[in-house]
């Protein structure tokens, strides 16, 4: 018998008024404030590929066309001039290089910008590194661009960052809702789970940059919450449509979101089996949800002659699969190389799981060149191990009453993402390219990570859970403080 049968039915027959719980409201406000601070602290174009994402928005807003024209420059003349004057191109990823500090240089740029305004914004739109991305995030970002059209480039960049960081409110709320579905109405556990999404420094840093990742975190959060909700409360036509629409929207934000499909299909199958209702309407609703989102983009991309999922097709068009080699690559990503294995090239200094996943997901700012000393990450690894062991112990303790399908769903989502990322990186490496993976690619899983944290807290005796939540929130806040200090020192000291 499934867990859903034992869950209470929705209490009210009429729609309840939506009221934001106070802890969530305060956490969202704190998260947005932190992200806003990051938007001001991070120098122009000093987050991964922000110059490319800005260039995409600018090309779309200025010309009405998606970028990718082979006859155009990757960036507009205006952006190139701003990058040169601020030294942002030179400072990117090079610790020894700072942004321009001379106030006279900024004044000179302002004067030159005023005299050239409007002449050189539309000549970008070429093959910049983001050109093949799906357009949804960029189309939304074109709105603040239009609204601040009369302002200088750096003002427009700030407006884009501010709109981008608003997605964090949805990411945090989705993590809260997810924890609510898993643990019931336990505000302390919900707050602890959502804190990870709102207060982890990389979440603030990336969300406060111009990058589709900010929207990606939010849409993945919603999809994972909806999948969990279906498993807990049962499948309806509306939730089936909602789940697959969320997956489709995620695909139109970033092609790596195809990794959500296996878990969404699992939810659909389990939901249909548990609900006992006819499969036709939920299946039609799910298909409709996917078709009006990802399907619409697929057709539009085909008509326009653009790749619909360049990240996926690009990673599979290289040399063929060698299973032993693939296994060797995955082994060497997570474990020290065994003597009989061929060395797989990597940019990691130690083991990639540490250098790429852990460092990159916790604190790797700028163009990933700004990192803490090693001992900070070793400390974080130890904390993670404690949390994972406590969460696993709690899961084991409650194994009899638990919903195995929910555990399977929340496990399949990260596994699918990891499989997709490793598949892509393996093909790129054997094709002669360097490492592709970045720690921030794991951040769409922050809602699930929050559930793990909350599970660990539930392992504590009830009277100590509040203290545990205080430690989680206080620890994340302290990490925020030092992360902001680190970035200030790197760029301005």
């Amino acid at each position: 018998m499934s867990e859903t049968a034992t869950l209470p039915a929705p209490a009210a027959t009429r729609p309840a008024r939506i009221r934001l719980p106070h802890p969530l409201a305060a956490l969202v406000a704190a998260s947005l404030l932190l992200a806003l601070i990051w938007a001001f602290v991070t120098p122009a174009f000093q987050s991964p590929d922000e110059n490319s994402h800005f260039g995409y928005v600018q090309a779309l807003a200025e010309t009405g066309h998606l970028p990718g024209s082979v006859t155009k420059a990757p960036f507009s003349s205006e952006q190139v001039a701003a990058g040169t004057a601020s030294n942002s191109d030179q400072a990117a990823a090079v610790l020894a290089t700072k942004m321009e500090w001379n106030p006279a240089a900024f004044k000179a740029w302002l004067r030159a910008d005023r005299s050239h305004r409007g002449l050189s914004r539309g000549d970008g739109g070429g093959l910049n590194p983001a050109w093949s991305n799906p357009p949804l995030y960029y189309a939304i970002e074109a709105i603040p661009y239009e609204l601040t059209r009369s302002a200088n480039l750096f003002s427009r960049l700030l407006a884009l960052r501010i709109v981008s960081l608003l997605w964090l409110a949805l990411t945090v709320s989705a993590a809260w809702l997810l924890a609510g579905e898993v643990f019931g109405r336990d505000r302390l556990l919900q707050l602890s789970a959502a804190s990870l999404a709102g207060l982890a420094p990389m979440m603030s840093f990336i969300s406060a940059s111009v990058t589709p990742d900010s929207m990606l975190f939010a849409v993945w959060g919603v999809a994972i919450w909806l999948g969990t909700r279906i498993l807990r409360r049962g499948l309806t036509t509306a939730t089936a449509a909602g789940l697959f629409a969320a997956v489709g929207v995620a695909i139109v934000v970033k092609a790596s979101s195809y990794a959500l499909l296996p878990a969404a299909l699992l939810v659909l199958i389990v939901g249909l089996r548990r609900s006992g209702i006819g499969p036709l309407r939920p299946l039609a609703a799910a298909a409709a949800g996917l078709i009006v989102t990802a399907g619409a983009w697929y057709i539009a991309a085909r008509v326009a002659g653009r790749p619909a999922a360049a990240q996926v097709t690009g990673a599979t068009s290289g040399p063929g699969l060698n299973v032993r080699q693939l296994l060797s690559y995955v082994w060497q990503f997570y474990l020290p190389r065994a003597p009989f294995m061929t060395d797989f090239p990597t940019i990691a200094h130690t083991i990639p799981v540490y250098d790429i996943w852990i460092k990159g997901a916790w604190a790797s700012f700028g163009w990933t060149e700004v990192e803490f000393r090693n001992r900070v990450y070793i400390g974080l690894v130890l904390v993670m191990l404690v949390v994972i062991v406590a969460a696993a112990s709690e899961l084991w303790r409650r194994r009899r009453g638990g919903d195995r399908m929910l555990v399977a769903f929340l496990t399949l989502v990260p596994l699918s993402l990891l499989a997709g990322l490793h598949w892509s990186e393996y093909h790129l490496i054997i094709g002669g390219q360097s490492n592709f993976n970045q720690g921030r690619y794991l951040l769409p899983l922050v809602g699930i990570a929050g559930v793990v944290v909350a599970l660990a807290l539930r392992r504590l005796p009830p009277r100590w859970r509040g203290v545990g939540a205080g430690v989680v929130i206080g620890g994340l806040f302290a990490l925020q403080l030092f992360s902001l200090g680190l970035v200030m020192e790197r760029f301005y000291a």
């Binding site: 719980p21 001001f40 122009a44 030179q90 321009e100 500090w101 707050l191 206080g474 806040f477 000291a493």
Partner: protein, 225 residues
């Protein structure tokens, strides 16, 4: 719940204090840098040759310097004597100079050398020159000509398409905390026109007061809701 709130408040206070202590104890001598790394030989100086980088401007009042850091390759032999001069452009009289004694080791032993030249605080553009006063060749390290977009290098007066790896340091270290006003001014450049150092003062206050207040409110209200 009181214990939980007290724990969070304690951690917040400890975090803020720890950051202040780190700012007080963390020292830096860095004044400013041209941002050029040692990617290649920027200039090979035969005896008597002189390589210069200009125009070098001290960017702001917190960037005065007394020492210059550079990278020298000696081809696996003891390095020759060098003369380093700092001269305002348009003048022939150096305002600071130093001599590097011969016999210094190669890059693999000493990747960079720091040369005390005396205090320099002028806002005039400067020419930084290195003359080979010895009898052996020496390589001055740097990178391609695009590395420093506002300055360029010349060898014996002729333009070369490279830049020298030069960094400018203060005589003694300053705490990071004492640099905060300068950091706020620097952070406010190349932003929206209305952003100033005051914006970062507000951000610091929000970080130290508003965010903790919201987090404490969030934790406290879990009990009420």
């Amino acid at each position: 719940m009181r214990r939980a709130v007290a724990t969070l408040a304690g951690l917040i206070v400890v975090g803020v204090l720890a950051l202040i202590v780190a700012g007080l104890t963390g020292q830096t001598r860095d004044g400013f840098t041209l941002g050029v790394t040692s990617g290649a030989i920027a200039a090979e100086l035969k005896p008597g040759d002189v390589v210069c980088q200009a125009p070098v401007r001290i960017p702001d009042s917190a960037s005065d310097f007394s020492r210059i850091q550079l990278a020298l390759g000696t081809y696996r032999k003891p390095g020759p004597a060098l003369e380093l001069t700092v001269t305002p452009i348009g003048s022939t009289t150096p305002i600071a100079q130093a001599r590097i004694a011969p016999g210094y080791p190669d890059l693999d032993i000493t990747p960079t050398r720091v040369v005390p030249v005396g205090p320099v605080d002028t806002r005039s553009p400067l020419r930084i020159c290195i003359r080979n006063r010895g009898t052996r060749r020496v390589a001055v390290m740097g990178n391609g000509g695009a590395a420093s977009r506002t300055t360029s290098a010349t060898l014996d007066g002729k333009s070369i398409d490279t830049d020298l790896n030069l960094s400018f340091q203060r005589a003694s270290g300053r705490s990071l905390l004492s640099l905060v006003p300068a950091m706020f001014r620097r952070a406010s450049l190349f932003r929206a026109g209305w952003v100033g150092a005051w914006t970062y003062v507000l951000a610091a206050l929000a970080l130290a007061l508003a965010v903790p207040a919201l987090l404490l409110a969030a934790l406290r209200s879990t009990e009420e809701s």
